[in-house]
Amino acid sequence: MNDQGKTKEELIKELQELQQENNTLKALYDKDITGRKQAKQELIIADKELVFQKEEKKKRAAELIIADKELTFQSKEKEKRAAELIIANKELAFQNREKEKRSDELIIADKELAFQNEEKGKRAAELIIADKELVFQKEEKKKRAAELIIADKELTFQSKEKENRAAELIIANKELAFQNEEKEKRVEELGIANKELAFQNKEKEKRAAELIIANKELAFQNEEKEKRAAELVIANKELTFQNREKEKRADELILANKELAFQNEEKEKRAAELETANKDLEQFAYVATHDLQEPLRMISSYTQLLERKYKDKLDQDANDYIHFAVDGAIRMQKLLNDLLEFSRISSRGKGFEQVDTSNILAQVISNIQLLIAENSCLITNDDLPTLIADESQIIRVFQNLIGNAIKFKKKSEFPKIHISCKKQNNMYQFSVADNGIGMEMQYHDRIFIIFQRLHSVKDYPGTGIGLSICKRIVERHGGKIWFESIVNEGTTFYFTIPV
């Protein structure tokens, strides 16, 4: 439950952070839109300004055209006036020449007159007056010429003025052209600025689109988070449900535990009962053995004592009878001892500890060294492992198997025994292989049963308990025992002990 709480808090925190981030983005987006609106308005104003300036230029151009026309008209008037003045001048020049001709004629006439003067005296005075008239007329003509020069000067001045005015107009025109260029430049710049603005607009649109996508993404993430939160809520419910189930289960387990505890108690009771029963059985076996052995020993001892004291006083039959009685008693005693040992493998076994099989083999060889020497037996072995086992029981297993291998040797050959071990499936598999008489595989079950024998006591003495003891010991260790055999070639006994 603690872990769940934390996760929820963390999620809420995460959600709040995301909302904050979203708000920041929205503010940025709003700011951007405001900026763009301002820029648009500025563009509209600049556009209006341009339109206004264009109209002004058009007006100005129209005015200039009118001024031009005026100038052209004035120029034409001046040319007309100059042409009239030229005609007037030519008239004056013609009149002058006419006057010079007249004056020449007058000079001739004068001379005529001067000639005639002498004749005509009266006529002279009249001529002086006419002469005076002529001087006056000359002065008038000079005044008129001066007036013409002045008029000419006036014309020249007016022409210069007109030229000045034309130059000024040219300058004004250039100025206008420059201004036009400037305006065109400005228009271009404005065009560039417009493009720039358009580009910026596109960028902003892209950014806006991106923001929209980001927004969508955020919205999607929000949805996902909400979904996740919803899922968590569901998971929480599920967990709560599971917890309840677990609590139920725990309750059930507690009940089951109680049940088990009860069963355990029952089992312990049963085990205790079994142990008691086992001890009783053991006690029974011990007592039976002991108590049976006592009378048996009495039978054998006193028959033997009888034999010892009265041997010569009895016949051979009596001796045979005594022998059978003693032999029977001795064999029964052995059976009782074996039975006792067999019944005590589990209950009287010692705890398991680390035992080195090499040492065990050495111990076994030492225990039966006389038997080995008597039979010229050759015992070899591979590397042997260390086991967790009851040492004395493993000694017993090896001793029984090796003892059997020697007992069931071929008469024609010295017994050879090889002991080896391999690790397989977490088990040590031991083998004790001999070159003895072998046995038929059909007896494979029988030979491990207590007191079951394949041979007569006469040929091979023994109670037939050795292999059943081996089986019981190996099984007590959690292993198995079996054998492979070929008649007249030899037998290999295998047994396994857990690693």
């Binding site: 011990y286 006592e294 020993r297 009495m298 001892s301 033997q304 004592l305 001795i330």
Partner: protein, 145 residues
Amino acid sequence: MENLKLVEILLIEDNPGDARLTQEALKGGKVKNNLHIVYDGKEATDFLFKRNQYQNAPRPDLIILDLNLPKKNGQEVLAEIKVDDNLKSIPVIILTTSKAEEDIIRSYNLHANCFLSKPIDLNKFFEVVKSIEDFWLTLVKLPGL
């Protein structure tokens, strides 16, 4: 090595057959002995602590003790002997049918001087009794002998 003094042996054995066999085995021995036989644990302690009919019983030089006894078993008798200052120096030989490991261990823990199993074969039984005689009554130096 000559022992003129009579050696007192206490045999604690409930089986008259075995008692008789032991008696037979000791008969032919070199050491002159006086064999006392008691047939249960209580009688044994009466003898050792000179109680009841055993007021005049001698202090034995050697005790041969069977473990399975009526009334008071061999180990109880052994324990009483070995905690008694007067008796604890007497060698106690356990001679029993049992070969059980726990009997052997418990006997030695109670300070038995040696533990012997009764052989089934008569000749071997005689040998064992003879070896007791040879070792404990001839070879070993005991206090007071």
